[in-house]
């Protein structure tokens, strides 16, 4: 898990499908990256690795306007949303987000800009390797809403021309931050 090669493979695949991948040295570097991309509000739902790393204060220090009270109204107004990642898959550049908590879904479906903090340790080779943690998530919780996210939202429904950003986020920024969490069962 988490070899340099894996990270490279993941980054390449993710970029190929239109995601931005940023190798952050530290959480504060990641926070600065995020703040620079935004003028409006940033939704920050609660998630374990973020709380542990005191993400909120890092973001605020970097100058982001952080919104932690997530409702349909605040989500509809926000420009961005940031979450952690449970784990990722290198071959397709995919993020896996356990999104049963509705706040996670609001933060990742409604705003135009999606930010995801990923510990490189959590990159698996492919979806077949992902089956086991998927199963664990299903065993742990009685109900699930789990999302594989691969790039920003897209369509080719008009004349088969690929167009980025339809109903979901128009931008997906993946921030590789070391030492956040190595547990695929937690975000």
């Amino acid at each position: 898990m988490g070899t340099e090669q894996q990270v490279e493979k993941f980054s390449l695949a993710a970029r190929q499908i239109g995601a931005e991948v940023f190798q952050a040295e530290s959480l504060s570097a990641a926070a600065r990256y995020v703040a620079e991309k935004l003028t409006g509000n940033l939704l920050l739902p609660a998630f374990a690795s973020g709380a542990r790393a005191e993400l909120k204060s890092a973001l605020e220090k970097a100058g982001a306007r952080v919104e932690t009270d997530l409702s349909r109204e605040t989500a509809a107004q926000a420009e961005g949303g940031i979450t952690g990642v449970n784990f990722a898959m290198a071959d397709t550049g995919t993020l896996v987000l356990e999104s049963t908590d509705e706040a996670i879904r609001l933060a990742t479906t409604l705003p135009e800009k999606q930010f995801a903090l990923l510990d490189p340790e959590k990159i698996l080779a492919n979806s077949l390797e992902a089956v086991e943690p998927m199963r664990q998530l299903h065993l742990r919780d009685p109900r699930n809403y789990i999302a594989y996210v691969t790039g920003p939202s897209r369509t080719a429904d008009i004349e088969r021309v690929l167009t980025i950003g339809v109903h979901g986020p128009k931008e997906l920024h993946i921030l590789l931050v070391p030492k956040l969490s190595s547990d695929p069962l937690e975000m």
């Binding site: 699930n144 999302a147 594989y148 691969t150 080719a156 429904d157 339809v166």
Partner: protein, 717 residues
Amino acid sequence: MNKQRNKDYRQRIDQALATPKLQDALHKFGDAYLMSRGNAFANYDFEAMRTEISAMKTGVRENHAVLLQQFIANAEAAGATVYLAKTAEDANNYIAELAKKKGAKLAVKSKSMASEETHLNVALEKAGTKALETDLGEYIIQLAGQRPSHMVMPAIHMFKEEVAELFSKETGKIEPAEIKHLVEVAREQLRQGYFDAEIGITGANIAVAETGGIALVTNEGNARLASTLPKTHIALVGIEKLVPTLDDATKVIRILPKNATGQPLTSYVTWIRGAVPCAGEEKELHIVLLDNGRSTLAESPHCQEALNCIRCGACANVCPVYQTVGGHVFGHIYIGAIGIILTAFFHGLENAAEIVRACIGCRSCVAICPSKIDLEEIILSLRETIGEEEGIGTGKDLVFRKVMRNRKLFHGLLRAASVMQKPVTKGERSIRHLPLFFSSLTEWRTLPAVADKPLRDVILQQPQQVEKPRYRVALFGGCANDFLYPELGLDLVTVMNALDVEVYYPQEQNCCGVPALYSGDKETAIELAKQNIDAMLEGKPDFVLTTCPTCTMALQRDFVEHLKDNPAWAAKAEQLAEITVDAAGFIVNQLDGADLFAKLASQEKVTYHDSCHLKRGAGVWQEPRQLIETAGHELVEMAHADRCCGFGGSYSLTSHPDISKQILKDKLNDIEASGASCVAMDCPGCMMQIRGGLEKQEMPVRAQHTIELLAEALKNS
């Protein structure tokens, strides 16, 4: 046959053919699709993957009742309400009732073919609930009041100008026909709907028995919104979407987007199990499992494999008929090859009666199907069923039953034709014009004249000098080689003799039965199978050689299939199948004889056309290329070498000549663009079509059978 229905169908074909823009779009899509698909599978073993999917889905069919119970129990344990709907009406009623109970004014929908199948929107509208399609393609179609013309890309037949016009009507301002802008308009127009709607309706690509959850494979993000914001989520799911475990679901997800659109993975895969939190409460999740003909399909021994389909839509993407006329002609609600089958079972045989004959039988869908479904075989068996119900047409009926089954009469008539045609052939080998109402047959290609003497006669006069033959082989000529191109059979004798193989021609052999089978007359096909088995096995040949891959498939596959339950014939059919082999494959694989021709030919620029049944039936495509190159020709590949030439037997003569002509045009363009002066192939049917087209267009390219090129090389030396 229903006259009005047929007339409407013909009109739709004419309309589609009169829209070159549509054909152009579908062709470009087909090319781009193959490119991106190739990239998506670059590091994967497609054959291994699809073998796994096929085995898994077959297992699901066999254990369906158990898995269904497991799924329902797990889904309910997670707080979902599951409803099993027998019919489309049943499903619609359940959903409409629910909408009423919720007092729902608005339901947002993400793309669901199952809801197209049941015409759910109409039912909801009646119940006072407006159904708003949010998938961009579906939204466009809904505004246009049309139905999808592709299962994955519903609005693939529409152009940005049309979309701009539709959107302008919605927004009340003039929206420019720029795709990026139009996508943005859709985003804005639909956004509020998710917040206002009381209900979100989705389909599902997979239902996982292990978890009781469903998975949605999507790109736009609308399904995520529709399954998150409204308080109630209804998922309408065909019962064939079941898979046993998360491992199996993952395998489907690995192959589906790659094969559907050439994407490694869609933007989103959403796994939902049970009633998840929603605005501080619990969401109400209803899973409506739709049967609507699927159980009947599961019981049909010839068609049940169609339930293995994972709805990738690829069978349409690569279909030359689809590319020529689109999904509004070649489909009902479901389109393309799988659409024919699903229509017959979900929407009734009568709705499939025309499109079941629109398949040209090229098997390109079979080669691309991620569930390894033999779509062509299923379509043939449906054609037979429809033939029984509606008749196959009196003229054909007479020819097949009364004439073809009686070999002497059939061949006698062909001999008579050779004499009677004299006024039109004027002694030439090609018929360039036919008089009066037959004229349309030679409008876009010449037709070969019936030979003065058939192969079965002339071959007897050909002296064969093989001292110590390695093998004695029986030649199965097939009607075209026998009566139209006897010289091809003689060339085969020359080539075989040079390889120390002796050839004889069993005189009792008859038509292989494919024309009857393709027209839905299986009885005649079975009768012909028996006649041919006896005829070909009688002289105890080492091998039976064919020059026509369609005949090869008949001898190798169809005869066995027809007679497998007949104890008197099954073993004999197997025996014949085992020793039957096409000529090019025989030379390379059995005789290891390519080197005999090394550098004998006077070098020519040759391009190769893969015959559908040779490449995708017999799996032979390298061998003829090897032979041509070894003989010293310069082989140049044309684009779409393995795309059908549009012949399809009676398809091009009577059932769909207009579509056939169009497909031939594509082939001629590819041949011309290759710059070759000769196009080689291994099928007399393709020769008839391609040679006929080249002659009519007066193109300076000759069309030859590979065996003819080899004989030529030998004579050269």
